[in-house]
């Protein structure tokens, strides 16, 4: 198994610089980082796609292996090992924040620091915990993933990016970014939005930066505060950027916050 081909790994920047590994969240691929990475060309930058997303090897997808976020974390560890990385600063967006937490727990010798962008260890509200979504919201999402042919099934790609009457356009665009196999996307959504990784936060032993956006409907501020509270010694930075994807909506601010964290530690 060629791990680098499986995860469509790309390495840029200075080969002798400190390593920054960027991980994308649910819904897109490594292109999510393209406005941020130019600010770190003095680093060795490692980009990849989770199996099932972007240019990854879809035949490597296995519902058993990826039945929990640990499967994705194991991939991250395998990538780091096959590139013989060490002292990695892992920058994870959205669900990849928790994937990074699990990877650092699995192979602590590889990772030096974590940057969690819009993290949430648990999306569903519970007694004494606010995740931002009710059980019904998530059930509704998963139900729509299973049944909403309009938006989520195999017709998804042309529905998102193109005109069903011009399938070649949809194909062309889905080939450029955010390409997702619908079956796998459904599965990834289920794993992402039903997992509970709150207990893993206490296991983080390395310097950690939490980047929290304003008005993030997926990872609200109260969740960012929770993560900051549970990861001992972590730093919380609130971004002016709104929404869930500061790497796209405010790349300069995001890069500056990461840079400040790198310089400090």
């Amino acid at each position: 198994m060629d791990v680098l081909r499986r995860n469509n790994v790309h390495v840029q920047g200075r080969s002798d610089g400190p390593t920054l590994m960027f991980a994308h969240g649910f819904g897109c691929d490594q292109n999510m980082w393209r406005l941020v990475t130019p600010a770190f060309q003095d680093h060795r930058i490692v980009l990849f796609d989770h199996v099932g997303a972007g240019g990854s090897d879809l035949t490597a997808w296995d519902p058993q292996r990826y039945a929990s976020l640990q499967g994705y974390a194991d991939d991250v560890v395998e990538i780091a090992r096959s590139l013989e990385l060490s002292d990695v600063t892992f920058v994870g967006h959205s669900v990849s924040s928790m994937i990074g937490v699990l990877a650092a727990e699995t192979a602590p010798e590889l990772f030096a620091q974590l940057v969690l962008v819009g993290p949430s260890p648990r999306y569903i509200d519970e007694e004494g915990y606010v995740g931002g979504f009710t059980r019904a919201d998530i059930d509704g999402l998963l139900e729509s993933l299973d049944s909403n042919y309009l938006g989520w099934s195999s017709a998804m790609a042309p529905v998102i990016v193109g005109n069903p009457d011009r399938p070649q356009l949809g194909e062309e665009l889905t080939n450029s970014f955010c390409r997702t196999d619908p079956e796998i996307a459904r599965h990834f959504a289920r794993v992402t939005f039903t997992s509970d990784n709150r207990a893993d936060l206490a296991g983080v032993r390395i310097p950690t930066l939490v980047l929290q956006c304003s008005q993030d409907v997926i990872a609200p501020e109260v969740v960012g505060d929770y993560v900051h509270d549970k990861v001992s010694g972590s730093t919380l930075v609130r971004l002016a950027a709104t929404g869930h994807c500061p790497n796209l909506s405010a790349p300069e601010e995001t890069a500056a916050a990461v840079r400040a964290f790198l310089d400090r530690s």
Partner: protein, 519 residues
């Protein structure tokens, strides 16, 4: 010529066109806050203008699932490509009801490239959603039917593979079969092994062109035909000639390929023929592989110029192994066939010390180790030839000779390290079988002969008891039935062949240690 026009249309102000357009219009700040919205949108959602403008973001008007979709797909795409089209989401109206819509958005930037506004049109998708829901239901039904059909074909195909392989102390067989994983339909590969008489077995592996139910059915027909023709003792070449005539009126089986071999267990002589099939492999007792390139001719039904088929012979030394397989094991688009066959021969040779029970599966695994997706059926049949059973006796069918046999068998089993429950089981089963032959196979006035062959491997004991008598009654006498029941209770596999005399073959996997024979 002037274009006729209705004054009312021309007098429509831009304002009216905007407010009462047949779609919803929204203008939002780059952070998503609503800056402007038209009357149509307000009418659909039931909100006052004041409740939306400056107060809510577009994402706030979506259902839970839609909000996640908005953040994970819609916005990233909008920022990366400047526009998104025909995104399907549900709007939540002021009264909590939902309305499926299709959304188109364009991101406007100023001359410096700064984001200025997101302009969005919203289309009512209720009818389209209902239509697509029906489409989805139809597709699910079709998927289910296709799944059921595949299941039927798989069941059919598997049911036609032999449930048990011939058992004889001089021989051990092991087969591995795996349907292709890519594509929904099963292929038409099969294997079979059966005794021709007490001292010869036939092995065959074949491949029917095509996939699905038709291929599985054709495979079943061919398998039966091979079995029927083999027992006429015509030999491999004549068998293929008969098959040519058989498939003549049976298009689904035409251009099927197969490798067929008959092994004489007394001397290791093999007669074989290949109709358009990859060559069998022999591994000699020293582990050296040889490809059997003899006895070749075209696939079934494709003999255009000649009407006779070739066959060839090879002698197996005791301790040899023979392998027949289908092209799924060796055919790759990116590698020459010869290389793959050499690779298989290597795997067969490397793993030759593996126990036979796992040999076929282990070899398949190794031969396909560098292949990511196996989209064809894979089928491998292997045979280990031992020739000399370590125990062989021929005794007159007389009750008093049974004591001698038991004593000899006892000594031999001890020498082979078969002890405890295994030992008791084999002696008991063998005695019952010989006793049956002595008592019932021959008329009292005619003395017959009973032959006992036994062999032991690291994992099992095989015994074969043979007589040449005639059954005097159609139904076995009660006692003999009981004897057989007792044999079955202590042996793992028992088969009776009454085509010429009676050959009772039985096998017990060694448990080792003590315990009762039934354990």
């Amino acid at each position: 010529m002037t274009v006729p026009h209705d004054p009312a249309l021309v007098e429509d102000s831009a304002e009216e066109l905007y407010e009462d357009a047949p779609c919803g219009y929204l203008s939002c700040y780059p952070d998503g806050r609503i800056a402007r919205v038209n009357r149509t949108f307000l009418a659909w959602t039931g909100y006052d203008r004041g409740a939306l403008v400056g107060a809510k973001r577009f994402v706030d008007l979506l259902s839970g699932g839609g909000r996640i979709y908005h953040e994970t797909h819609y916005l990233p795409l909008l920022r990366m490509q400047g526009e998104v089209r025909a995104i399907a989401v549900d709007l939540v109206a002021a009264d909590g009801s939902t309305m499926p819509v299709l959304v188109n958005s364009r991101l406007h930037r100023d001359a410096q490239g700064r984001e200025v506004a997101i302009r969005t049109t919203v289309f009512d998708a209720r009818d389209r959603k209902a239509y697509e829901t029906e489409l989805l239901a139809a597709r699910r039904r079709a998927d289910r039917l296709a799944g059921e059909q595949r299941q039927v074909a798989v069941t059919l195909q598997t049911s036609m593979l032999p449930a048990t392989l011939p058992s004889d102390p001089r021989l051990q067989l092991s087969a591995y079969y795996r349907p292709g994983v890519e594509g929904l339909e099963v292929g038409g590969d099969w294997y079979d092994a059966f005794p021709l008489d007490g001292d010869r077995v036939a092995v065959v592996v074949g491949d029917v062109v095509g996939r699905g139910l038709a291929a599985a059915a054709a495979m079943g027909q061919l398998r039966s035909a091979v079995r029927a023709l083999a027992t006429t003792d015509a030999g491999p070449a004549a068998l293929l000639e008969h098959l040519d005539r058989f498939v003549d009126g049976f298009p689904a089986a035409q251009t099927a390929t197969l490798a067929y071999a008959e092994l004489d267990l007394r001397d290791g002589g093999v007669r074989y023929a290949c109709a358009g099939h990859p060559p069998p492999v022999v591994i000699d007792p020293d582990g050296r592989p040889t490809l059997l390139w003899g006895g070749r001719s075209a696939p079934l039904g494709a003999q255009i110029l000649t009407t006779t088929r070739d066959e060839a012979t090879v002698d197996l030394a005791p301790g040899s192994r023979l392998a027949l397989y289908t092209d799924g094991l060796v055919e790759r688009r990116d590698q020459p066939l010869d290389d793959r066959i050499e690779g298989l021969a290597d795997a067969l040779a490397t793993l030759v010390r593996r126990p036979m029970a796992r040999y076929a599966e282990d070899v398949t695994e190794q031969a396909l180790a560098d292949v990511d997706v196996v989209d064809d059926d894979v089928c491998l049949l292997t045979l280990a030839y031992r020739q000399h059973p370590t125990f062989a006796r021929e005794l007159p069918a007389e009750p008093r000779r049974l004591t001698d046999l038991r004593r000899d068998l006892d000594t031999w089993l001890h020498a082979e390290g078969v002890v405890g429950a295994d030992h008791e089981a084999v002696v008991l089963a063998c005695s019952e079988a010989v006793n049956n032959a002595v008592e019932y196979a021959y008329p009292a006035e005619r003395l017959g002969v009973v032959e006992v062959l036994a062999g032991v491997t690291p994992d099992e004991v095989q015994v074969r008891v043979r007589d040449w008598g005639e059954w005097r009654t159609a139904r076995p006498p009660e006692d003999r039935g009981r004897g057989l029941a007792m044999i079955r209770s202590v042996m793992d596999e028992v088969s009776v062949d009454r085509s010429a005399g009676t050959v009772l073959s039985m096998r017990r996997t060694l448990r080792g240690g003590g315990g009762s024979p039934e354990s």
